[in-house]
Symmetry: none
Subunit: 193 residues, 4 copies
DNA sequence: CATGAATGAGCCTTCATTCAT
DNA sequence: AATGAATGAAGGCTCATTCAT
């Protein structure tokens, strides 16, 4: 029983630290975020921080991997609900909401500025692979169903779709809002006409 | 006479420092780049560095503004050579070459990770405004000439074009090459069919 | 328990740093005192120094405020022991001993040379107000008891008394000893004859 | 002829640098005054500064020695005009005006904060010896003329007089004005009653 | 588990002085 | 004489990490 309580307490605290770290990284960038600031925001001591994450980089990787899990869940949900082009467009809408988050841009920048540490690169790769695979899979289905234009290979269309998503994300970081436009753009680019 | 020599010498040295700073920022990120490393790479002393750039941030802004001038030159050249859709596609090819540069990605990340200092933001704005204006101008011309699809407003097409460019840049940063594809994608997205 | 020990240890260490800082400031002046020198003299690391005093200026203010407390204590002791003119003369003797200290002059100079930072000015004000009030209070009593000359207002006599004290301090800084003369001078200036 | 012009030009420029240095030292203290700031205020280049004063310390000594000359002149003037106690009181009035100068305090502090360099100490000594000798001489005369109290030795009265002057100077530095009071205090302390 | 005092390497920046022109 | 670019040593301060309690 105690074990159960401990594990719950442990998980909650870990979550709290991750959340604090995310906000700090997003606001100040990785290098300018001090572990002390994370501790303060999470309401813990520096020693405690160390219990959960041996190094600052571990905390960043933790945030990143948590993001991967969230993404995985969203993709699964969407896959279950709608196949083909609709799935991709639905995810574009989710994406658009994510990149509109006040912290998204800062966090993306914080990570981008890093000389790619292997563990960070791995987490980043995991996330983008997940998405690339999702798009590839559903566009292949869409192709079979004749939903896509015919003059360009599916693989190329997948790449272009990701470009639009990343580009929209970049715009969002610059503070240019673009509500609802992304899925329209993707549709315009991919659809058979 | 001495004046002429001095100014030339001054400009050359400034250029050399800027170049060294660019490579360092690109490789290690802004915060992890030490002024000592820039000095070493430029072959100058720390005192000389601060003679040219009072602070590390000033050096970054210097790099950025030099980039703006380069971009301005390229855009003028292209504008003079080809109007309308062709101009945009031509710049897309230049862009594709730029983002393929081994340092481009690192430098973009280095800048992105910064809590936007006003001077940095201003330089960044100057560059993107230049490009946005260029694209807007030439797409408007293209519209008049019937080169563009009719179902989407020109302003929207401009935004989508920038999305594709930024997205391709992001891909390049991730190390995914995309030789020649960008202009094809833009053409596919914009062209009247 | 641990708490008690910690607080004691903390206070002792703080005291040791303050003491080292005092000697350094007195010997070399504020600007020429390096935090490294204070650390060396106190036997601590640079990090520890900043754990106790975030900036070098904070250490100076700490020294100053500790001095204010010492002065407050002396004045209270003297006030309790002897009222009127005697109290002032007794404090003059304490003052004479203080300014004879080998470090007094240097420290006074170190502080005087500073472009008055608000926090330094405040500490300095606190000390001189304490003394001015003490002198004013006891001379007023002396006046009532007919111990003072009658041709000059009490407030003026207070000022003059402080002038003699400050002047004697200045002499001491210049290395001119003046054992026991200050209280005689004050007495000669103030007494009813 | 050219020689005369050169010498005049040299002297004027030296004067200008000294004046700029004085204001800078007074405003910011010796250590915090940069040679660059002195150059800027004097309207010269760093190289020129070096022609006149090989080191920053030399500039300070220059300022100090110029002050000694000024003081010497004042004392001679007063000595010629009035002997005995009157001379001392007259100089007290001059002193009071000097210490009221907006830069006096700062400059005094700037010098006081220095770890006594021999050349600085020498200049300071020269000035205070001048004054001590002046006071000693005129009080001896006053003694003979029966202008002084009888219960204290002349040497002691000289010391006390300097204490009052230094103390008043200290008050002035602290920003407490004391117009006209100093000579009254000295008179009250010294006079036969 | 939790705490927070302690460490010390490393960074940006300043500035007196030199010297080629 | 005058200039101002160049130097480089030195200093205050930060912060990730450790460890005794």
């Amino acid at each position: 029983m105690a074990r159960t309580v401990d594990q719950k307490r442990y998980a909650e605290r870990r979550e709290a630290i991750l959340s604090a770290a995310y906000r700090q990284f997003a606001t100040n960038g990785y290098d300018r975020t001090t572990t002390a600031a994370i501790c303060r925001e999470a309401g813990i001591s520096s020693g405690t921080f160390f219990h959960y994450f041996p190094t600052k980089l571990d905390a960043l990787v933790g945030v990143l991997l948590a993001g991967v899990e969230t993404t995985r869940g969203e993709l699964q949900r969407i896959t279950a609900a709608s196949p083909g082009l609709a799935a991709v467009l639905n995810y574009a809408r989710v994406w658009e909401k994510d990149i509109g988050d006040e912290h998204f841009g800062g966090f993306a920048g914080a990570v981008g500025g890093l000389p790619l540490e292997p563990s960070v690169a791995a987490a980043l790769d995991a996330e983008s692979s997940l998405i690339a695979q999702f798009i590839g899979h559903h566009l292949a289905t869409a192709k079979k169903q004749g939903e896509l234009r015919d003059d360009v290979a599916v693989e190329t269309l997948s790449t272009w779709t990701r470009w639009l998503m990343d580009g929209a994300a970049h715009s969002a970081v610059q503070g240019e809002a673009s509500s609802g436009e992304l899925s329209v753009a993707i549709s315009a680019l991919l659809s058979a006409r």
